[in-house]
Amino acid sequence: MAKTKMPFTTLDTGPHFYPMLGVLAAVAAVGLGSALYMEHHGHVVTGMSNQVVWGLPHVFAIFLIVAASGALNVASIGSVFGKAPYKPLAPLSGLTAVALLAGGLMVLVLDLGRPDRLVVAMTHFNFSSIFAWNVILYNGFFAIVGVYLWTMLDRRMNGHSGKVGLAAFLWRLILTTGTGSIFGFLVARETYHSAVMAPLFIAMSLSFGKAVFLLVVVGLYRMEDREVGDAMVKRLAKLQALFVAATFYLVVVQHLTNLYTARGGEVEHFFLGSGGVYTLLFWGGQILVGTVLPLILLLHPGFNTTRSNVLLAAALVIVGGLAQVYVIVIGGQAFPLSLFPGMQVTSDAFDGTVGAYDPSLPELLLGLGGAAVALLIITVASAAFRFLPASLADAEVDKHHAEANA
């Protein structure tokens, strides 16, 4: 029996397309306007300070960058691990990854003190800097995923997609290791300095990326009333549960490692008990909303039978993920640096006190602008190129799955 390729189509510019585009463009424009406002006045108009030097824009940027590498995972499962049912979604997975990375980097760059000097960052490399490594890793990710998409979308290149997919998979693991190590290698900060940061960020990337991808797939198909089969959603839901659990495991290891030592006890007391908004976000956001509820919705037989619960779980993973990144990035800085271990310290520069941080509206709008840019890229590219399988109905996917195995 001759194998038939799954047909791919573009996103129809139907009645929902332009309103959606308009909303996303407006949010992106407001984000860019906020960046201009911050650039014009300086960071004095933000909640950031000399104690909390990275604020809400970094939370969004890191979430998007981490989610980007995770969003590629569906393609990797298809290409690298040979799971045929995921193959139809591989091009969209690659597109989502590139779009999320672009949105995240936009936020990161526009939050620089001197965003006009981006060219300096591209031309002056200090190779002992993990940031400089990341500049190379991000650019490489665009290039490799770009080639990967080419091998998937151009039939003449299809034969190379396995090898390029493997390269992209390895690259994304290194990339997220780099992102986690931005924090993990900071020897001075007890809240960060840990080898667990790299694998934790990889687990987070798989979880956040999968959640975003699930919502993107269902959202795009719902815009056109195309069918997404229950089996496909269930497959993605199972993976989602696995990744949420993996993230939780590494979070437990992260905190147990600290709790075991006398020195780390103060850090844990802060995050788990006395840290105010950070404690609330840890237990309420990261653990309850981002971990416990999604696991119940995805694994409990009483809940995981409906698609709306799966989508709700994905949305909760995103909310909990943002809370987790907030706790890591902001909470980790708010906890005072220990210049004199074991001593009580005071100064007029806030030594020994928990750093205050109230995010400002422009910071929030810049972060949301980055997310909007990512979604805008996905929407426009889906309309311009054939990224979407014509049908994700179970019968269609299974038919091609069966043929692929024949």
């Binding site: 300070s49 000399n50 965003p115 000097r117 200090n126 993990i130 001075a188 800085q333 074991g342 806030f350």
Partner: protein, 242 residues
């Protein structure tokens, strides 16, 4: 002073001597020729005698702020204001012993800020002074995340009335530069002068690499502490009596 430094004969005499001790804690350094490169033969450093440093005295902080302009009024919140040097009051909860000491860039031999800077804007001169090149600082603040001493500040707004020897800029990071232009001209950092002027004489500046320098001798004599010595950054600022 200007006459002394501009007189070639006297200048060469001073250069030959290396440094001239005028009074305890007050050392006149030999000026370098204007085009001389910093040399790794020297390692500039500070020794701060915390037993002479009073909690109520802020002379070093005020002098530094006036010299470099960072203490000029700003529109931001107090936690956004630059602090090149700050007085920290320390108390040992076990013994009740207290100390008050200035904390600034520790001019590490292995500075984490230099390691993490993506563009190389954070750099260490051959003579151990850690600086920020404001021309290629992109304002990413990663050095501030990496510094164990909270020694660096981010400039949160436009700056007026800049001091000629201290270029600064909105959106870039800055810190104590050990008064590098003064040191290159053979003078002492202003905090050292101010401390002596306030009658404390608690800060000694000099070349840690020169075994005959006053600072090197005192370091050998009193075996001073260094902040976060556990991190093994080989800091250039030493604290006596801590």
């Amino acid at each position: 002073m200007t006459d002394v430094l501009s007189n070639p004969t006297r200048r060469s005499l001073l250069a030959g001597i290396g440094a001239l001790t005028l009074a305890p804690g007050i050392v006149l350094m030999a000026p370098q020729p204007a085009d001389a490169a910093a040399t790794s033969g020297k390692r500039w450093g500070l020794l701060i005698d915390t037993t002479k440093c009073d909690a109520g005295c802020n002379a070093c902080v005020q002098a530094c702020g006036a010299e470099h302009g960072w203490s000029d009024p700003t529109h931001g919140r107090p936690d956004q204001a630059p602090k090149w040097v700050r007085k920290v009051d320390v108390k040992d909860p076990a013994s009740g012993k207290t100390a008050s000491l200035p904390v600034m860039c520790q001019h590490c031999a292995k500075p984490p800020c230099v390691d993490v800077c993506p563009t190389g804007a954070s750099f260490k001169r051959a003579d151990g002074i850690v600086l920020v090149d404001r021309h290629i600082c992109i304002g990413c603040r990663y050095c501030m995340m990496a510094c164990p001493f909270k020694a660096r500040s981010f400039v949160h707004e436009d700056i007026a009335n800049q001091r000629p020897g201290t270029p600064r800029g909105n959106g870039t990071v800055e810190a104590c530069n050990l008064c590098v232009t003064r040191v290159d001209a053979g003078k002492l950092p202003v905090c050292v002068d101010a401390c002596a002027g306030a009658g404390k004489g608690a800060i000694l500046f000099g070349d840690l690499n020169d075994p005959n320098s006053a600072i090197a001798k005192r370091v050998r004599e009193v075996a001073p502490a260094r902040l976060r010595a556990d991190l093994r950054l080989d800091t250039g600022v030493h604290y006596q009596g801590l």
